[in-house]
Amino acid sequence: MTKQNAVSLQIPLKPDKVDAVTKLLNTGGNPAMEQTFFSFKKIATVHFARWIVVPASKRLDPSLVYAANIDGDRKQHLKDLIEHLGDDLDQIFQYCQGYPEEGDADAGNRLAFLNKHVIPTQGFYVGAPDRTVVQIHQEAELYDAVRGFVKEHGKDWKSSKDAYIAIKNFLGKDSKWDWAKKAFQPPKVNILGTAFLALLLLVLLPLLIVFIILIHFFYELRAKPFGKTQSEIPLEHLAALKNQEDIIYQNQLSQVFELKGGLRKLGLKFFLWATSWGARNTFVTGQLMGTPTIHFARWVIIDKGKRFVFFSNFDGSFDEYLGDFVDNNGWGLNTIYGAAKGYPRTFFMFGRGSYRIAEFMGWGRLTQVPTQIWYSAYPWYGLQQIVDRSKLRAELFNSGELSETQIKQMLRRI
């Protein structure tokens, strides 16, 4: 079984080259449908990937951040990048600090440079864990075939059992589906892992209460929220973001936050750790605390702890996505983003904040930056459909004989 991993890089830019590199990256496209520059399609293990320019701030240089969601491990991915996109990397790196001058770059140099700029990913969520890009495409093809078969023959079947047998026979006859026989089950909630996190939080509860009180007096009362709705943001800023949105079924979100210090930073690290733990053990069936549209999301601390970024790949629009979170677990947002400067004022860590939805969305837009290159390996697949199709494959190929109830449930999802 192949696990999905996050690769994050941050590379300092030469401050006078921001425009040049932005222009270059923009030729890669968002969404990158027909890529001419930095064509991720050449690497079959990439689910989603992006390059963004992180603007300079008062004390920080501008930089590039690269984020890829891949099958397999990072080392191989960096090698793949050099093998398939080495020349494109060179074009980007000429604008970066510390890259060997023209002529000196070879594969070894490039790899060393990439390795040097790898940064850890503190929070990581995978919507459909344990599924490779290839598998996701194969399962989509399988679903289409099953649906076509049901459409054509559905009238002939008297019972769900009839349907099940007919579908199994239809698929069994064709060696095209041999790949599906390879053992696979979508992951299930890890009860022990979930219990461990719950227990840990319970044990830490007294500490957490003290923490929340300190946060209240030392952070919340002194917070300086941006206090702006989406309608109070410069139209050009909004337009630059919206021009990259709602083109395919999915959207991207790239946000850069100034990180508060002290306890808030400590809290952020803990909650991101807990989120990642929850993502690996609990939220493995296609939803993150009730939000069912996220393919991959990550939180990465950059600039040596001065800022952090959030990158998401999700179905639907910006408004739908942020609204979904507020509808389902606004308090979860508050624990994490309370650490970001300008966030709507929280109340004892969990309250208010994102529940002031208009201000929350305004903050979301103000911290959002354009994503210069954004790639999706399956731009038209919804996350729930990916999950459904894996279930169908497992039910038809990897589950032995199904019970009457299981068959009915399976047929409903076709």
Binding site: Y143, G154, S231, L235, S317, E320, G323, Y355, D388, K408
Partner: protein
């Protein structure tokens, strides 16, 4: 669902009547798009209009009414400063047609605003004037009077006139009873089903909404006009609120291809021997719409239309039809108001979410004579809706629900009535419709579009006192 009391807390005398009323007995409608030519004369004309505007108060029940709505250019033409116009929400300021909005709403291809008759920045118009009257004779006289008045005042020119009507049986052009499920504004004094009484701030600015927040409202930034006519910002900023008791209006002219609609239904419901099956045809259409032509719900009447005319709105999906076997998930009704069964959420969570995305609809049918050598006239709907937040209500419903080809377990189905696929989707021309059934679902693919957008715009629909204020700029 219990009908519960809904005590009056809003100053309905200040609210334009159309927000709370459908004018079910005033069958004839007309719309004038006006352009302000002379600011001062236009304001004088507006002053004369105010007494003719019906308020939402029950004591106001004239047999002919006027309502006024404004574009941002209209507010500017009446003398509102740039600073104050910039205080309005972005969708209203930008208008219905921007690149991203075209994608969200599905306004591409045949729906491309470049092909529209009106709106979408094609012509500068400033004021929308809406007329309701009892019958053809009374509206004709009414319109003539008002045209004369416009002419005499010299403040505005009439750029476009549109006519519409409500059928006495409330059926829209495809033949389905329309306008049944409407939210009831909390505080309007009208009792209603518990789940349909929605927080005032979803429909009127200056009140709390379903997020327990005040919706974003245009506050006065620069002192101008007689500000004593304006209310203070209810959210407590200390500023005057131009939005109070007003809202935003979405207007879209939707051509309905009625013959194509029924032909497609017929072809996909033929008897095994290839002959048409009238009953199956109506059933298929009802599955697509989510109601029978009479208005009866598929949840309450899964097999057959009980006939007559039914305002059948007393149902949820969660208990009786969780799997869509009666009313398909992908039907027009269930998509656009999933009621108590959204995603896999429980009833409480479903209702919490769906209540945040409701609109008040005031659509009426229109007909146009044949043009360009065609032997057939055009029929369709002047779709009108009211909402306090265009992005989270009208646009959300159109994009996240009607145009979403992957709701629930659907893989490439959009709303058969108003859905539009994504332009770049390679499967855009293969949209399906899934009828949940036992033992297996039925699929009907390769749908045509039966609705074409022919015009539209976003408007500010102010309170009566704010209309008054506009005359003092």
């Amino acid at each position: 669902m219990a009908i519960i009391a809904n005590p009056k807390t809003i100053d309905l005398k200040d609210v334009q009547g159309m927000i709370t009323r459908g004018y079910g007995k005033l069958y004839e409608t007309a719309y004038f798009l006006l352009k302000v030519e002379d600011k001062e004369k236009a304001k004088e004309w507006m002053k004369a209009m105010i007494p003719l505007i019906d308020s939402a108060d029950i004591s106001d029940h004239s047999e002919k009414t006027i309502h006024l709505a404004f574009t941002p250019e209209g507010l500017a033409a009446l003398g509102m400063s740039k600073e104050n116009i910039e205080g309005f929400p972005v969708p209203f300021r930008e208008g219905i047609s921007t690149q991203d909005r075209n994608r969200i709403l599905g306004d591409w291809g045949e729906n491309d605003p470049k092909k529209w008759r009106w709106g979408g920045h094609q012509e500068g118009f400033h004021i929308l004037m809406i007329f309701h009257a009892k019958d053809k004779e009374s509206i004709a006289a009414f319109l003539q009077e008002e045209k004369d008045r416009l002419q005499n005042s010299g403040g505005c020119t009439l750029m476009r006139e549109m006519r519409g009507y409500l059928r006495p049986d409330n059926k829209e052009a495809f033949g389905f009873h329309d306008g049944i499920s409407q939210p009831v504004i909390k505080g309007s004094g009208r009792p209603g089903p518990e789940n349909d009484i929605i927080e005032t701030g979803e429909f009127l600015l200056g009140y709390k909404n379903e997020h327990n927040q005040f919706p974003f409202s245009p506050l006065l930034k620069k002192e101008e006009g007689n500000t004593s006519l304006l209310q203070d910002d209810a959210a407590g900023s200390g500023k005057k609120d131009l939005g109070h008791n007003g809202t935003f209006m979405v207007f879209r002219q939707m051509q309905q291809h009625v013959d194509e609609f029924w032909k497609y239904m017929e072809q996909n419901s033929l008897n095994p021997d290839g002959t048409p099956n009238e009953e199956a045809k109506i059933k298929l259409a009802a599955k697509c719409v989510g109601r029978w032509p009479s208005g009866a719900s598929l949840v309450n009447f899964p097999d057959k239309d009980p006939g007559g005319s039914l305002e059948n709105d007393d149902f949820g999906y969660a208990d009786i039809d969780p799997d869509g076997l009666r009313c398909p998930y992908g039907s027009h009704l269930r998509r656009n108001n999933p009621r108590d069964a959204f995603r896999w959420y429980d009833k409480k969570q479903s209702l919490k979410i769906t209540r945040r995305h409701r609109i008040i609809r005031r659509g009426r049918t229109y007909e146009l004579p044949p043009e360009n050598g065609s032997d057939k006239g055009e029929i369709g709907l002047h779709f009108i809706c009211f909402n306090a937040n265009i992005e989270l209500q009208f646009e959300f419903i159109q994009h996240a629900w009607a145009n979403n080809n992957q709701m629930r377990h659907l893989h490439n189905d959009i709303d058969v009535i108003i859905g539009v696929p994504d332009e770049k989707n390679p499967k855009a021309n293969h949209s399906g419709f899934t009828i949940q059934a036992e033992p297996v679902n039925q699929f009907i693919d390769h749908w045509e579009r039966f609705v074409t957008i022919r015009g539209g715009e976003y408007f500010f629909f102010p309170s009566i006192s704010v209309i008054n204020y506009l005359t003092t700029l």
